[in-house]
Symmetry: C2
Subunit: 329 residues, 2 copies
DNA sequence: GTGAAAGCGCTAACAG
DNA sequence: CTGTTAGCGCTTTCAC
């Protein structure tokens, strides 16, 4: 029925191991043999059996990609680039969605480890020590998350946040609100911290409201608190929140950007399309996917590589939700 | 190092086959043995080796999910539900993105077949005969696409399109434009056909413009043609196109819904958030994912099941982009 | 109720 | 340059 190494070996009067070599170490067989094997393989529609190969070599050529929520518009760019890159490496991507639940993430990771050569954990909600421990038992690359001794790809919001605060202050804002995301997210306090540093540098006030769910609905609920905060500008944990806030403010009669400036984080597709278009801090999720797979490749090939951290810069994308500086109006 | 059936058998003075049974056919071993095995397995952190199992049984417990573009906002709901459902079945999802390219899809499918128990092809761009042939060599479930003799999950736009046309005609529209999507998509002519049927039934004019890329940018480009078509309402191939059209119309000074009504298809997250909010035909992509995996499960379990087709109904979601009937204004 | 033995398809020394 | 041999971890008859 389905072609195997053995069947093509038999057909050619060769030993299976020779056929195997013809594919994996072509230089170790005669050109003639290589050709004959290639031809017959083609003709018989031979496809290597991954399971058998995995069992023999201990390498699955699969890499697990674990993300909190496929439906969250931040992740598609990540998944897509990771998938594409992995494919080019001859690797296949096992995708799993944790639904933002740490216990579920834990279970998924356990199940995925033996089926893969390595795991890419995006925005993991697991505690640091657990991640460190995992890294000892499997190849691990973290994305948008760090843990001691574990390789990671960071979307460094520092750049973007500095640009955002400069931008807001240049527009004349002196009291700025930060709308916090979920408590269990590593980025929530991190972004708060970075904003705090900038606020101090620029000598402006920073107030925090939240936490809120990082969703459009979360933003709807947050808008009232933002209004009551006395701030004239708001930086939200992410674009979805920002979009929700923007929309709720509008129905409350608060005009964006005239009465309130709004900035998000992520630059999801929706940000450019909304009215007003949303000023946002763009995270290079596409690059992150590539980078993560690349790092994984090195870890798998290399000889006990040190944990590495790649930091991708972020950039403020100015759109109409922050308006123009007073002197330009 | 890592626990195997053998190691736990050795530890218990049992034969590996007994340990295997303790997991797979618990009723065939003594309760006492079952308990001891379970305990030691737990203690040693045993995880079955998928590759070995796959090699022995011929089942990988993996199912391949192939979609044209992960970054397209229609698919996340599909992928997510498919992934979740598969996980519950103890199956793992291999995700691949064809980048809308048939040759690439072909290659991906070939590579995925031997690694999976079956393939779910979403919006496949492959010709019918090729799909039929594939179905003979592997378990196949098509989503949003049909081919003779192949199981499929259809998002039947008929319901939604009927509702949409009824709605538009009730609003007083007599000349309606259809903005076509890409030529190679199965849905493009299909939707045109369904609209045609309704136009005829309702005795209104239907004009087609396009094809256009099914993207926001595509919509930007389409708007001019829509304006020149003389239509007062437009049904776009999908939401992204509709959103682009809506936005470009606005900059052309054509008000939605006052001067032009706009309807999309998909009900992506953005549709509800845009201004004006987009009236759209909701496709149950989430259900489709579940259904596809469920059908796959049956096909894998069942004894030569007939090809089945599940049709999921669609529904018109009325929002402000189509406004209110004249007599209600 | 449990053990013995063979084999899934492929790779990896080791010979020759 | 090619064949031999053994074995990856698990399942699956067939015996006992």
């Amino acid at each position: 029925m389905v072609a195997t190494l053995q069947s093509i070996a038999a057909r050619l009067g060769l030993d299976p191991s020779t056929v195997s070599r013809a594919f994996n170490e072509p230089h170790r067989v005669s050109e003639r043999t290589r050709r004959r094997v290639a031809d017959v393989a083609e003709e018989m529609g031979y496809r290597p059996n991954g399971a058998a190969r995995a069992l023999a070599t201990g390498k699955t050529n699969a890499i697990g990609v674990v993300i909190p929520d496929v439906a969250n518009p931040v992740f598609p760019a990540f998944v897509k680039s990771a998938q594409t890159r992995a494919w080019r490496n001859g690797q296949t991507v096992l995708l799993a969605d944790t639904d933002e639940s740490p216990p579920r993430e834990r279970e998924i990771v356990k199940r995925l480890i033996p089926q893969t050569d390595g795991l890419v954990l995006c925005s993991s909600r697991l505690p640091e020590d657990e991640l460190a421990e995992l890294a000892a038992r499997a190849h691990l690359v973290l994305v948008n998350r760090s843990a001691p001794g574990v390789s990671s790809v960071l979307l460094d919001a520092a750049d973007g946040i500095r640009q955002a605060m400069d931008h807001l202050v240049a527009l004349g804002h002196r009291r700025i609100a930060y709308v916090a995301g979920p408590d269990h997210s590593w980025s929530t306090p991190e972004r708060r911290r970075l904003l705090g540093i900038q606020a101090e540098r620029l000598r402006v006030e920073l107030v925090t409201v939240g936490p809120f769910a990082p969703t459009y609905e979360g933003g709807l609920g947050a808008a009232g608190f933002v209004r009551d905060s006395g701030a004239t500008a708001v930086v939200a944990y992410n674009d979805l929140l920002a979009l929700g806030i923007q929309s709720a403010l509008a129905t409350m009669g608060i005009a964006v950007p005239d009465d309130m400036s709004v900035i998000g984080v992520d630059d999801i597709a929706m940000a450019a399309i909304s009215t007003p278009a949303l000023t946002t801090i763009r995270l290079a999720m596409g690059m992150a996917g590539e980078a993560a797979i690349r790092m994984m490749g090195q870890a798998l090939a290399g000889i006990e590589t040190e944990p590495t951290t790649v930091t991708l810069a972020t950039q403020l994308i100015v759109r109409s939700s922050t308006g123009h500086p007073p002197d330009l109006v």
